[in-house]
């Protein structure tokens, strides 16, 4: 449908029919705010690249850095530590997610961010983002959309923790992650890699690793979910969603502007 010949092709020629792999573009397409001509600008944002080993902090509580961090691959987590040593993960950052857009306004970070798996991020100077949002109003709105969706996800996590028992809580998280990975082309129809230990799943859901383990076995027993290593397979997505009451509305995904070959 869109035949604009002005595709960017910055260095590598990107053949027109090849499916997009840039997670930021794939994600922001689902905001319903972008046009095709905005995409090259976003692509240029994703550099320079930095690799982060697992378990390393990218941002620490108290930091007020000059760069904004954008996830390109892997998984990172926002977290807070309590004096007793307990940890709560308060957000998962997947490819296409910004880590610390908010520090532009809020100044000091009030939590830390660590890589849970080996990851790749782009470090974008704050002034670049500033300038971009001033010169490209559609991109500005797309980024605003992204932060509002983050907030919406946080609210759903609160519902998850406050009201759902452990088995539905785990199921709901898996439903969300499967969908979020699919949006950025990191998952299949009924399966994906979720590179988290059971302890980390517990830190997300307010449960112990022991209980996570038992719940996963229980879900397998019901035929709702199978886990082997880091690979999560969902035999029947509709069934898993029904089981935990997952409604994707809170992710505010609009249809992608155009379809591409898988």
């Amino acid at each position: 449908m869109s035949d604009t010949p002005t595709l960017p092709a910055p260095a590598d020629a990107a053949p027109i029919m090849v499916s997009e792999s840039n997670p930021l573009i794939l994600k922001l397409r689902r905001s319903g705010q972008l046009r095709e001509e905005d995409e090259p600008v976003l692509r240029d944002l994703c550099t320079p690249i930095r690799r982060i080993p697992a378990d390393q902090d990218v941002v620490r509580e108290g930091d007020s850095g000059a760069d904004v961090h954008l996830v390109l691959d892997g998984v990172l987590a926002r977290y807070k530590l309590l004096p007793e040593g307990r940890r709560q993960i308060i957000g998962l950052l997947l490819p296409g997610d910004f880590c610390d857009l908010q520090s532009v306004i809020l100044g000091e970070m009030d939590h830390s961010i660590a890589a849970l798996a080996p990851s790749t991020i782009a470090e974008v100077p704050q002034r670049i983002v500033d300038a971009l949002t001033l010169s490209h109003s559609r991109i500005a709105r797309a980024l605003w959309w992204a932060t509002l969706v983050d907030e919406s996800v946080l609210r759903e996590w609160l519902v998850n923790m406050g009201q759902r028992p452990a088995d539905r809580r785990v199921a709901h998280l898996v439903c969300e992650l499967l969908l979020r990975f699919q949006v950025v082309g990191r998952a299949e129809e009924r399966a994906c890699e979720i590179p988290l230990t059971q302890t980390e799943l517990g830190d997300i859901l307010g449960l112990t690793n022991v209980h996570i383990n038992r719940v996963l076995q229980d879900l397998r027993g019901r035929g709702l979910l199978t886990v082997r290593g880091r690979r999560f397979e969902v035999p029947d997505v509709a069934a898993l969603r029904a089981f935990c009451g997952f409604d994707p509305a809170y992710l505010h995904l609009r249809p992608a502007r155009r379809l591409e070959g898988g």
Copy 2:
């Protein structure tokens, strides 16, 4: 209760030494983004006024209204209902808080908002907010600050639910509300009105009303908190904060620009 008849006072000269009572202005002063000349503009926002009885919805899931709602007095709550009838409150809206700034971008609301106590709100047309943020960049940044603080509060609530036992959970919420009410001039140094039933406190914290009741008695027994009706008194704020590990950093309050007589 305390019905200041002079709430709007749009064009009236505000005497310099008189203490401010407009909650939006009081709150945004703490963002560190505003100058004094921005305040009259904000004051004009707080009209027309609508009164909401307790337990009435202001915004419903699925709505995509043309107005933005701003709390002037009372308390409202964001909430989601689960099919089993359980309710999770996912945010408290105090005087000075906006209810649905996000619907400008996200379209449909993914949750509902109800008044928990008789409340007063202003209904601001979206285009007014739009125009305001374009013409007044400092106000735009102050509003952005407010939404980022909302998100930060949500993260802290998640920590509260996931990691703290019931007694510290209740204590932490009280610490937060006492401070937030103080910011908008609705609380004393060591006491405030929190117009919530114990069932509503439970819906915030993921606990039953029965257990909330027992926890409140326990906190009273330790001399940390006394509750009579809706009045919460904290004999020793530092002690209560230490008990639950409350650190106000997540509210990102900067010192008010100027001090005023109480």
